[in-house]
Protein backbone atom coordinates (compact mmCIF):
# COMPACT_ATOMS: atom_id res chain seq x y z
CA UNK A 1 0.00 0.00 0.00
CA UNK A 2 2.66 2.43 1.11
CA UNK A 3 4.83 1.50 -1.84
CA UNK A 4 2.08 2.27 -4.32
CA UNK A 5 1.44 5.58 -2.63
CA UNK A 6 5.07 6.54 -2.88
CA UNK A 7 5.23 5.41 -6.48
CA UNK A 8 2.22 7.54 -7.37
CA UNK A 9 3.80 10.46 -5.62
CA UNK A 10 6.95 10.06 -7.66
CA UNK A 11 5.03 9.73 -10.94
CA UNK A 12 2.99 12.81 -10.12
CA UNK A 13 6.15 14.71 -9.32
CA UNK A 14 7.67 13.65 -12.62
CA UNK A 15 4.55 14.68 -14.50
CA UNK A 16 4.50 18.06 -12.85
CA UNK A 17 8.22 18.38 -13.10
CA UNK A 18 8.04 20.05 -16.46
CA UNK A 19 6.00 23.00 -15.35
CA UNK A 20 7.78 23.80 -12.15
CA UNK A 21 5.60 26.23 -10.35
CA UNK A 22 6.70 24.52 -7.22
CA UNK A 23 6.33 26.07 -3.83
CA UNK A 24 9.77 24.82 -2.95
CA UNK A 25 12.30 27.59 -3.10
CA UNK A 26 15.02 25.13 -4.15
CA UNK A 27 13.12 24.22 -7.32
CA UNK A 28 15.00 25.08 -10.48
CA UNK A 29 18.45 24.30 -8.96
CA UNK A 30 21.15 22.75 -11.12
CA UNK A 31 24.19 20.73 -10.19
CA UNK A 32 25.31 17.49 -8.72
CA UNK A 33 25.54 16.31 -5.18
CA UNK A 34 27.86 13.77 -3.58
CA UNK A 35 26.44 11.86 -0.64
CA UNK A 36 28.46 9.58 1.60
CA UNK A 37 26.04 7.13 3.19
CA UNK A 38 26.33 4.04 5.36
CA UNK A 39 26.01 0.82 3.38
CA UNK A 40 22.77 -0.13 5.10
CA UNK A 41 21.13 2.93 3.55
CA UNK A 42 21.79 1.92 -0.02
CA UNK A 43 18.39 0.72 -1.15
CA UNK A 44 16.48 3.43 0.72
CA UNK A 45 18.70 6.26 -0.45
CA UNK A 46 18.59 5.12 -4.08
CA UNK A 47 14.83 5.49 -3.92
CA UNK A 48 15.14 8.80 -2.10
CA UNK A 49 17.48 10.07 -4.79
CA UNK A 50 14.90 9.20 -7.41
CA UNK A 51 12.29 11.22 -5.56
CA UNK A 52 14.70 14.08 -4.91
CA UNK A 53 15.80 14.45 -8.51
CA UNK A 54 12.20 14.25 -9.61
CA UNK A 55 11.49 17.19 -7.39
CA UNK A 56 14.64 19.05 -8.43
CA UNK A 57 15.06 18.14 -12.09
CA UNK A 58 18.34 19.95 -12.56
CA UNK A 59 20.08 17.96 -9.85
CA UNK A 60 21.82 14.66 -9.85
CA UNK A 61 23.01 12.68 -6.86
CA UNK A 62 26.12 10.51 -6.63
CA UNK A 63 26.43 8.07 -3.77
CA UNK A 64 29.37 6.53 -2.05
CA UNK A 65 28.14 3.65 0.10
CA UNK A 66 30.55 2.10 2.57
CA UNK A 67 31.04 1.33 6.22
CA UNK A 68 30.51 4.43 8.33
CA UNK A 69 34.02 4.51 9.75
CA UNK A 70 35.52 4.16 6.26
CA UNK A 71 33.45 7.13 5.14
CA UNK A 72 34.73 9.20 8.03
CA UNK A 73 38.28 8.29 7.07
CA UNK A 74 37.56 9.21 3.47
CA UNK A 75 36.22 12.59 4.55
CA UNK A 76 39.27 13.09 6.70
CA UNK A 77 41.51 12.31 3.76
CA UNK A 78 39.77 15.00 1.75
CA UNK A 79 37.18 13.12 -0.28
CA UNK A 80 34.80 15.60 -1.90
CA UNK A 81 31.31 15.24 -0.42
CA UNK A 82 28.29 17.36 0.35
CA UNK A 83 26.32 15.17 2.71
CA UNK A 84 27.24 12.45 5.21
CA UNK A 85 24.75 9.96 6.59
CA UNK A 86 26.10 7.64 9.26
CA UNK A 87 24.81 4.37 10.70
CA UNK A 88 25.39 5.48 14.25
CA UNK A 89 26.01 8.54 16.35
CA UNK A 90 29.51 7.43 17.32
CA UNK A 91 30.87 7.79 13.81
CA UNK A 92 29.13 11.12 13.31
CA UNK A 93 30.70 12.25 16.58
CA UNK A 94 34.12 11.35 15.21
CA UNK A 95 33.40 13.35 12.09
CA UNK A 96 32.16 16.25 14.13
CA UNK A 97 35.18 16.24 16.42
CA UNK A 98 37.40 16.35 13.39
CA UNK A 99 35.55 19.38 12.07
CA UNK A 100 34.33 17.54 9.02
CA UNK A 101 30.66 18.40 9.29
CA UNK A 102 28.52 21.47 9.62
CA UNK A 103 27.20 20.95 13.13
CA UNK A 104 23.96 22.93 13.02
CA UNK A 105 22.75 20.80 10.11
CA UNK A 106 23.18 17.54 12.02
CA UNK A 107 19.99 15.67 12.80
CA UNK A 108 18.74 12.14 13.28
CA UNK A 109 16.59 11.05 10.37
CA UNK A 110 15.99 7.34 10.98
CA UNK A 111 16.77 4.45 13.25
CA UNK A 112 17.45 0.79 12.69
CA UNK A 113 16.71 -2.15 14.89
CA UNK A 114 18.10 -5.65 14.82
CA UNK A 115 16.29 -8.79 13.98
CA UNK A 116 17.35 -12.40 13.95
CA UNK A 117 17.40 -14.32 10.67
CA UNK A 118 17.67 -17.96 9.75
CA UNK A 119 17.74 -19.79 6.43
CA UNK A 120 14.28 -20.40 5.06
CA UNK A 121 14.14 -24.01 6.21
CA UNK A 122 15.60 -23.18 9.63
CA UNK A 123 17.68 -26.35 9.89
CA UNK A 124 18.88 -25.67 13.42
CA UNK A 125 15.42 -24.80 14.69
CA UNK A 126 16.24 -21.35 16.00
CA UNK A 127 13.44 -19.31 17.50
CA UNK A 128 15.14 -17.10 20.06
CA UNK A 129 18.46 -15.44 20.78
CA UNK A 130 19.18 -18.15 23.36
CA UNK A 131 18.75 -20.79 20.68
CA UNK A 132 21.14 -18.88 18.45
CA UNK A 133 23.79 -18.72 21.15
CA UNK A 134 23.70 -22.42 21.89
CA UNK A 135 26.83 -24.48 21.33
CA UNK A 136 27.04 -26.11 17.95
CA UNK A 137 24.96 -23.44 16.24
CA UNK A 138 26.68 -21.51 13.48
CA UNK A 139 25.72 -17.99 14.52
CA UNK A 140 27.14 -15.12 12.47
CA UNK A 141 27.03 -11.53 13.72
CA UNK A 142 28.66 -8.20 12.95
CA UNK A 143 31.97 -7.45 14.62
CA UNK A 144 31.58 -5.22 17.68
CA UNK A 145 33.71 -2.59 15.97
CA UNK A 146 30.98 -1.77 13.48
CA UNK A 147 27.65 -0.08 14.33
CA UNK A 148 25.60 -3.21 13.69
CA UNK A 149 27.89 -5.24 15.91
CA UNK A 150 27.83 -2.73 18.74
CA UNK A 151 24.05 -2.92 18.64
CA UNK A 152 24.16 -6.73 18.72
CA UNK A 153 26.32 -6.60 21.82
CA UNK A 154 23.97 -4.23 23.64
CA UNK A 155 20.93 -6.30 22.80
CA UNK A 156 22.65 -9.45 24.01
CA UNK A 157 23.75 -7.74 27.21
CA UNK A 158 20.27 -6.37 27.83
CA UNK A 159 18.84 -9.83 27.37
CA UNK A 160 21.42 -11.24 29.76
CA UNK A 161 23.04 -13.61 27.29
CA UNK A 162 26.47 -13.80 25.64
CA UNK A 163 26.90 -13.94 21.91
CA UNK A 164 28.61 -17.10 20.73
CA UNK A 165 29.35 -16.54 17.04
CA UNK A 166 31.49 -18.58 14.68
CA UNK A 167 32.28 -15.50 12.69
CA UNK A 168 32.18 -11.75 13.17
CA UNK A 169 31.63 -10.05 9.85
CA UNK A 170 32.56 -6.53 9.09
CA UNK A 171 29.62 -5.80 6.85
CA UNK A 172 26.00 -6.56 7.63
CA UNK A 173 25.52 -7.69 4.04
CA UNK A 174 28.06 -10.45 4.67
CA UNK A 175 26.03 -11.70 7.62
CA UNK A 176 22.94 -11.74 5.44
CA UNK A 177 24.89 -13.48 2.68
CA UNK A 178 26.09 -16.27 4.94
CA UNK A 179 22.60 -16.97 6.25
CA UNK A 180 21.12 -16.88 2.77
CA UNK A 181 23.61 -19.39 1.48
CA UNK A 182 22.96 -21.68 4.38
CA UNK A 183 26.52 -21.49 5.65
CA UNK A 184 25.23 -19.99 8.87
CA UNK A 185 22.36 -21.29 10.96
CA UNK A 186 21.44 -17.86 12.25
CA UNK A 187 22.47 -14.23 12.05
CA UNK A 188 21.74 -10.85 13.56
CA UNK A 189 21.09 -8.16 10.99
CA UNK A 190 19.26 -4.87 10.64
CA UNK A 191 15.54 -5.09 10.01
CA UNK A 192 16.23 -3.29 6.75
CA UNK A 193 18.61 -6.05 5.64
CA UNK A 194 16.16 -8.80 6.49
CA UNK A 195 13.63 -7.04 4.30
CA UNK A 196 15.95 -7.41 1.31
CA UNK A 197 15.65 -11.17 1.09
CA UNK A 198 12.19 -12.18 2.24
CA UNK A 199 12.20 -15.27 0.05
CA UNK A 200 15.48 -16.59 1.35
CA UNK A 201 15.47 -15.98 5.06
CA UNK A 202 12.97 -16.13 7.90
CA UNK A 203 13.14 -13.80 10.81
CA UNK A 204 12.76 -14.21 14.54
CA UNK A 205 12.37 -11.51 17.09
CA UNK A 206 15.12 -10.57 19.45
CA UNK A 207 14.20 -9.95 23.04
CA UNK A 208 14.34 -6.26 23.81
CA UNK A 209 15.33 -5.30 20.28
CA UNK A 210 12.66 -2.63 20.15
CA UNK A 211 14.30 -0.73 22.97
CA UNK A 212 17.69 -0.77 21.32
CA UNK A 213 18.37 0.91 18.06
CA UNK A 214 21.04 2.73 16.12
CA UNK A 215 20.18 6.31 15.36
CA UNK A 216 21.19 7.39 11.90
CA UNK A 217 22.31 11.03 11.81
CA UNK A 218 22.74 13.04 8.66
CA UNK A 219 24.70 16.28 8.22
CA UNK A 220 26.07 18.61 5.64
CA UNK A 221 29.84 18.37 5.30
CA UNK A 222 32.01 21.32 6.24
CA UNK A 223 33.48 21.51 2.74
CA UNK A 224 30.27 21.00 0.80
CA UNK A 225 30.70 22.31 -2.72
CA UNK A 226 27.02 23.07 -3.03
CA UNK A 227 25.72 23.86 0.47
CA UNK A 228 22.25 24.81 -0.70
CA UNK A 229 21.76 21.62 -2.64
CA UNK A 230 23.06 19.67 0.35
CA UNK A 231 20.55 21.35 2.60
CA UNK A 232 17.80 20.59 0.11
CA UNK A 233 18.72 16.94 0.09
CA UNK A 234 18.70 16.74 3.87
CA UNK A 235 15.34 18.44 3.88
CA UNK A 236 14.00 15.90 1.44
CA UNK A 237 15.25 13.01 3.52
CA UNK A 238 13.34 14.41 6.47
CA UNK A 239 10.24 15.31 4.49
CA UNK A 240 7.10 13.18 4.36
CA UNK A 241 8.17 11.62 1.12
CA UNK A 242 11.63 10.78 2.34
CA UNK A 243 10.45 9.41 5.65
CA UNK A 244 7.85 7.29 3.92
CA UNK A 245 10.51 5.75 1.74
CA UNK A 246 12.67 4.98 4.76
CA UNK A 247 9.79 3.41 6.59
CA UNK A 248 9.00 1.32 3.57
CA UNK A 249 12.45 -0.14 3.66
CA UNK A 250 12.15 -1.09 7.29
CA UNK A 251 13.67 1.85 9.11
CA UNK A 252 12.08 3.34 12.18
CA UNK A 253 11.39 7.03 11.62
CA UNK A 254 11.33 9.78 14.26
CA UNK A 255 7.95 11.15 15.31
CA UNK A 256 6.58 14.19 13.52
CA UNK A 257 8.39 17.32 14.51
Amino acid sequence: MRRRFVATLILAALALGGCSSSTDSAGGQEGSLTVLAAASLQQAFDDIAAGFTAKHPGMSVDFNYAGSSTLVQNLDAGAPADVFASADEANMDTAQDAGLIDEPTRDVFAANTLVGIVPLDNPANIATLEDANAAGVNLVVCAPQVPCGALSQSIAEAAGSTLNPVSEEQQVSDVLGKVRSGQADAGLVYATDAALAPDEVSTFELEGADDQHNSYPIARTANAEDPEAAAAFIDYVQSHAGQAILEDHGFVVPQER
Binding site: N138, E168, E169, G182, Q183
Partner: protein, 276 residues
Protein backbone atom coordinates in the same frame (compact mmCIF):
# COMPACT_ATOMS: atom_id res chain seq x y z
CA UNK B 1 109.26 6.26 -17.58
CA UNK B 2 108.14 3.20 -19.55
CA UNK B 3 108.64 0.92 -16.55
CA UNK B 4 106.56 3.15 -14.30
CA UNK B 5 103.68 3.17 -16.77
CA UNK B 6 103.61 -0.61 -17.08
CA UNK B 7 103.62 -1.07 -13.33
CA UNK B 8 100.79 1.40 -12.98
CA UNK B 9 98.74 -0.43 -15.60
CA UNK B 10 99.20 -3.74 -13.81
CA UNK B 11 98.13 -2.39 -10.44
CA UNK B 12 94.90 -0.93 -11.72
CA UNK B 13 92.05 -3.43 -11.61
CA UNK B 14 90.36 -4.18 -14.88
CA UNK B 15 86.64 -4.51 -14.33
CA UNK B 16 84.40 -5.96 -17.02
CA UNK B 17 82.63 -3.21 -18.87
CA UNK B 18 78.95 -3.83 -19.30
CA UNK B 19 76.98 -2.78 -22.37
CA UNK B 20 75.03 -0.34 -20.23
CA UNK B 21 71.41 0.83 -20.15
CA UNK B 22 70.08 3.95 -21.84
CA UNK B 23 69.66 6.93 -19.54
CA UNK B 24 65.90 7.03 -20.10
CA UNK B 25 65.56 3.48 -18.78
CA UNK B 26 67.56 4.38 -15.70
CA UNK B 27 65.32 7.38 -15.09
CA UNK B 28 62.18 5.27 -15.45
CA UNK B 29 63.66 2.70 -13.08
CA UNK B 30 64.16 5.43 -10.51
CA UNK B 31 60.54 6.48 -10.92
CA UNK B 32 59.44 2.89 -10.41
CA UNK B 33 61.63 2.55 -7.35
CA UNK B 34 60.16 5.75 -5.93
CA UNK B 35 56.66 4.50 -6.61
CA UNK B 36 57.42 1.46 -4.50
CA UNK B 37 59.59 3.13 -1.95
CA UNK B 38 57.52 6.16 -1.04
CA UNK B 39 54.56 4.28 0.50
CA UNK B 40 56.94 2.34 2.75
CA UNK B 41 58.73 5.49 3.79
CA UNK B 42 55.39 7.16 4.45
CA UNK B 43 54.38 4.21 6.60
CA UNK B 44 57.55 4.39 8.66
CA UNK B 45 57.15 8.13 9.09
CA UNK B 46 53.52 7.86 10.15
CA UNK B 47 54.04 5.34 12.91
CA UNK B 48 54.10 6.46 16.48
CA UNK B 49 57.05 4.34 17.49
CA UNK B 50 56.48 4.71 21.21
CA UNK B 51 53.04 3.18 20.95
CA UNK B 52 54.24 0.26 18.87
CA UNK B 53 54.97 -2.31 21.60
CA UNK B 54 51.58 -1.81 23.19
CA UNK B 55 49.71 -1.99 19.90
CA UNK B 56 51.53 -5.09 18.76
CA UNK B 57 51.26 -7.14 21.91
CA UNK B 58 47.50 -6.95 22.34
CA UNK B 59 45.81 -10.33 22.56
CA UNK B 60 44.04 -9.89 19.24
CA UNK B 61 47.23 -8.86 17.43
CA UNK B 62 49.22 -11.79 18.77
CA UNK B 63 46.43 -14.22 18.00
CA UNK B 64 46.21 -12.88 14.47
CA UNK B 65 49.96 -13.05 13.89
CA UNK B 66 50.28 -16.60 15.21
CA UNK B 67 47.27 -17.71 13.18
CA UNK B 68 48.64 -16.08 10.03
CA UNK B 69 52.03 -17.71 10.41
CA UNK B 70 50.84 -21.22 11.02
CA UNK B 71 48.15 -21.15 8.33
CA UNK B 72 50.52 -19.66 5.77
CA UNK B 73 53.16 -22.28 6.54
CA UNK B 74 50.59 -25.07 6.27
CA UNK B 75 49.25 -23.69 3.00
CA UNK B 76 52.77 -23.38 1.60
CA UNK B 77 53.62 -26.97 2.48
CA UNK B 78 50.43 -28.17 0.82
CA UNK B 79 51.23 -26.08 -2.23
CA UNK B 80 54.65 -27.68 -2.47
CA UNK B 81 53.21 -31.17 -2.16
CA UNK B 82 50.50 -30.50 -4.73
CA UNK B 83 52.33 -28.05 -6.93
CA UNK B 84 55.33 -30.18 -7.86
CA UNK B 85 53.32 -33.10 -9.27
CA UNK B 86 50.89 -30.74 -10.97
CA UNK B 87 53.65 -28.70 -12.58
CA UNK B 88 55.41 -31.87 -13.71
CA UNK B 89 52.30 -33.25 -15.32
CA UNK B 90 51.44 -29.96 -17.01
CA UNK B 91 54.96 -29.37 -18.29
CA UNK B 92 56.03 -32.85 -19.23
CA UNK B 93 53.03 -34.88 -20.31
CA UNK B 94 50.59 -34.61 -23.15
CA UNK B 95 46.95 -35.29 -22.55
CA UNK B 96 43.66 -34.09 -24.02
CA UNK B 97 42.47 -31.02 -22.18
CA UNK B 98 45.90 -30.00 -20.99
CA UNK B 99 45.42 -26.38 -21.99
CA UNK B 100 42.06 -26.30 -20.25
CA UNK B 101 43.53 -27.79 -17.10
CA UNK B 102 46.32 -25.28 -17.07
CA UNK B 103 43.83 -22.44 -17.53
CA UNK B 104 41.70 -23.62 -14.64
CA UNK B 105 44.72 -23.95 -12.39
CA UNK B 106 45.69 -20.37 -13.17
CA UNK B 107 42.21 -18.91 -12.68
CA UNK B 108 42.75 -17.95 -9.02
CA UNK B 109 45.45 -15.58 -10.26
CA UNK B 110 43.02 -13.42 -12.16
CA UNK B 111 39.79 -13.53 -10.22
CA UNK B 112 39.16 -11.27 -7.24
CA UNK B 113 39.88 -13.21 -4.05
CA UNK B 114 36.31 -12.69 -2.89
CA UNK B 115 35.16 -14.59 -5.97
CA UNK B 116 37.57 -17.36 -5.02
CA UNK B 117 35.89 -17.41 -1.62
CA UNK B 118 32.49 -17.62 -3.25
CA UNK B 119 33.36 -20.63 -5.37
CA UNK B 120 35.05 -22.35 -2.46
CA UNK B 121 31.80 -21.91 -0.55
CA UNK B 122 29.90 -23.33 -3.50
CA UNK B 123 32.05 -26.42 -3.27
CA UNK B 124 32.83 -26.87 0.39
CA UNK B 125 30.34 -24.75 2.28
CA UNK B 126 27.59 -26.36 4.32
CA UNK B 127 25.29 -26.53 1.34
CA UNK B 128 28.04 -26.85 -1.21
CA UNK B 129 28.53 -29.63 -3.72
CA UNK B 130 30.98 -31.56 -1.58
CA UNK B 131 30.29 -29.72 1.61
CA UNK B 132 26.84 -31.20 1.89
CA UNK B 133 28.22 -34.74 1.73
CA UNK B 134 30.89 -33.91 4.27
CA UNK B 135 28.31 -32.30 6.52
CA UNK B 136 26.41 -35.56 6.60
CA UNK B 137 29.49 -37.13 8.13
CA UNK B 138 29.70 -34.37 10.68
CA UNK B 139 32.58 -32.67 8.92
CA UNK B 140 31.85 -28.96 8.74
CA UNK B 141 34.71 -27.06 7.16
CA UNK B 142 33.29 -23.54 7.17
CA UNK B 143 34.39 -21.22 9.95
CA UNK B 144 37.35 -23.42 10.87
CA UNK B 145 41.08 -22.83 10.67
CA UNK B 146 41.17 -25.58 8.05
CA UNK B 147 38.99 -23.40 5.88
CA UNK B 148 41.56 -20.62 6.20
CA UNK B 149 44.30 -22.97 5.01
CA UNK B 150 42.12 -24.10 2.12
CA UNK B 151 41.42 -20.53 1.05
CA UNK B 152 45.12 -19.66 1.20
CA UNK B 153 46.10 -22.81 -0.68
CA UNK B 154 43.54 -22.14 -3.39
CA UNK B 155 44.83 -18.67 -4.19
CA UNK B 156 48.52 -19.46 -3.77
CA UNK B 157 48.84 -22.73 -5.68
CA UNK B 158 48.96 -21.02 -9.09
CA UNK B 159 52.06 -19.13 -7.99
CA UNK B 160 53.83 -22.36 -7.17
CA UNK B 161 52.73 -24.03 -10.37
CA UNK B 162 53.79 -21.20 -12.68
CA UNK B 163 57.11 -20.84 -10.92
CA UNK B 164 57.90 -24.51 -11.29
CA UNK B 165 56.46 -24.86 -14.77
CA UNK B 166 58.56 -22.09 -16.25
CA UNK B 167 61.59 -23.71 -14.70
CA UNK B 168 60.70 -27.17 -15.98
CA UNK B 169 59.88 -25.89 -19.43
CA UNK B 170 63.28 -24.38 -19.98
CA UNK B 171 65.35 -27.33 -18.82
CA UNK B 172 64.01 -30.09 -21.03
CA UNK B 173 64.23 -33.74 -20.24
CA UNK B 174 67.80 -34.70 -21.08
CA UNK B 175 68.89 -35.25 -17.51
CA UNK B 176 65.94 -37.46 -16.79
CA UNK B 177 66.57 -39.45 -19.95
CA UNK B 178 70.22 -39.80 -19.07
CA UNK B 179 69.39 -41.06 -15.61
CA UNK B 180 67.00 -43.65 -16.97
CA UNK B 181 69.48 -44.72 -19.61
CA UNK B 182 71.80 -45.41 -16.72
CA UNK B 183 69.17 -47.68 -15.23
CA UNK B 184 67.42 -45.43 -12.73
CA UNK B 185 63.73 -46.08 -12.04
CA UNK B 186 61.17 -43.33 -12.51
CA UNK B 187 61.03 -42.71 -8.78
CA UNK B 188 64.80 -42.61 -8.39
CA UNK B 189 65.07 -40.24 -11.33
CA UNK B 190 62.47 -38.00 -9.74
CA UNK B 191 64.12 -37.83 -6.32
CA UNK B 192 67.76 -37.72 -7.36
CA UNK B 193 67.60 -35.69 -10.56
CA UNK B 194 64.31 -33.84 -11.13
CA UNK B 195 63.78 -32.56 -7.61
CA UNK B 196 67.29 -31.26 -6.95
CA UNK B 197 67.35 -29.52 -10.31
CA UNK B 198 64.03 -27.93 -9.49
CA UNK B 199 65.45 -26.14 -6.48
CA UNK B 200 65.68 -22.58 -7.86
CA UNK B 201 62.13 -22.71 -9.16
CA UNK B 202 61.00 -24.29 -5.93
CA UNK B 203 62.58 -21.58 -3.84
CA UNK B 204 61.04 -18.72 -5.78
CA UNK B 205 57.73 -20.58 -5.88
CA UNK B 206 57.78 -21.11 -2.13
CA UNK B 207 58.51 -17.47 -1.43
CA UNK B 208 55.70 -16.25 -3.67
CA UNK B 209 53.31 -18.83 -2.31
CA UNK B 210 54.05 -18.00 1.31
CA UNK B 211 53.77 -14.27 0.70
CA UNK B 212 50.46 -14.68 -1.11
CA UNK B 213 49.10 -16.95 1.61
CA UNK B 214 50.17 -14.53 4.31
CA UNK B 215 48.42 -11.63 2.63
CA UNK B 216 45.25 -13.49 1.69
CA UNK B 217 42.08 -11.65 2.63
CA UNK B 218 39.04 -11.84 0.34
CA UNK B 219 38.74 -15.59 0.06
CA UNK B 220 39.39 -16.06 3.76
CA UNK B 221 36.74 -13.63 4.95
CA UNK B 222 34.16 -14.98 2.49
CA UNK B 223 34.75 -18.71 2.96
CA UNK B 224 36.17 -19.02 6.48
CA UNK B 225 34.69 -16.01 8.25
CA UNK B 226 36.39 -13.87 10.85
CA UNK B 227 36.77 -14.90 14.49
CA UNK B 228 39.67 -14.06 16.74
CA UNK B 229 42.06 -16.95 17.15
CA UNK B 230 40.29 -19.26 14.70
CA UNK B 231 39.99 -17.50 11.39
CA UNK B 232 40.99 -13.85 11.88
CA UNK B 233 44.37 -13.70 10.21
CA UNK B 234 46.56 -10.59 10.15
CA UNK B 235 44.99 -9.04 7.04
CA UNK B 236 41.52 -9.49 8.56
CA UNK B 237 42.71 -8.08 11.87
CA UNK B 238 44.15 -5.05 10.09
CA UNK B 239 40.92 -4.51 8.18
CA UNK B 240 38.93 -4.71 11.41
CA UNK B 241 41.32 -2.45 13.33
CA UNK B 242 40.74 0.26 10.75
CA UNK B 243 37.18 0.61 12.06
CA UNK B 244 38.08 1.81 15.51
CA UNK B 245 41.85 2.08 15.83
CA UNK B 246 43.63 3.24 12.68
CA UNK B 247 46.94 3.48 14.55
CA UNK B 248 46.80 -0.21 15.37
CA UNK B 249 46.00 -0.94 11.75
CA UNK B 250 49.11 0.91 10.63
CA UNK B 251 51.28 -0.83 13.22
CA UNK B 252 50.01 -4.27 12.20
CA UNK B 253 50.57 -3.41 8.55
CA UNK B 254 54.18 -2.74 9.36
CA UNK B 255 54.52 -6.14 11.01
CA UNK B 256 53.02 -7.90 8.01
CA UNK B 257 55.37 -6.09 5.66
CA UNK B 258 58.40 -6.88 7.79
CA UNK B 259 57.53 -10.58 7.92
CA UNK B 260 57.15 -10.67 4.15
CA UNK B 261 60.44 -8.82 3.61
CA UNK B 262 62.23 -11.16 6.01
CA UNK B 263 60.98 -14.27 4.22
CA UNK B 264 61.96 -12.95 0.82
CA UNK B 265 65.39 -11.84 2.01
CA UNK B 266 66.13 -15.21 3.60
CA UNK B 267 65.04 -17.12 0.53
CA UNK B 268 67.00 -15.04 -1.92
CA UNK B 269 70.07 -14.35 0.17
CA UNK B 270 73.19 -14.96 -1.87
CA UNK B 271 76.43 -14.11 -0.12
CA UNK B 272 78.80 -12.25 -2.44
CA UNK B 273 81.31 -14.81 -3.69
CA UNK B 274 84.26 -14.69 -6.04
CA UNK B 275 82.98 -17.60 -8.11
CA UNK B 276 83.04 -17.13 -11.86
Amino acid sequence: MMTTKRVAAQSRRRPNLAAGIPGVAVAMALVAAAFFGIPFIALLVDITWSELPELLTSRSALDALWLSLRTAVAATLICIALGIPLALVLARTEFPGRTLTRSIVLVPLVIPPVVAGIILTEAFGRRGLLGEQLSAFGLDISFTTAAVVMAQTFVSLPFMVTSLESHLGSSGQHYERTAQSLGASKWRTFTTITLPLLRPGLISGTVLTFARALGEFGATITFAGSLQGTTRTMPLEIYLARETDPDAAVALSLVLILVAVAVIAVAYFRPATNQS
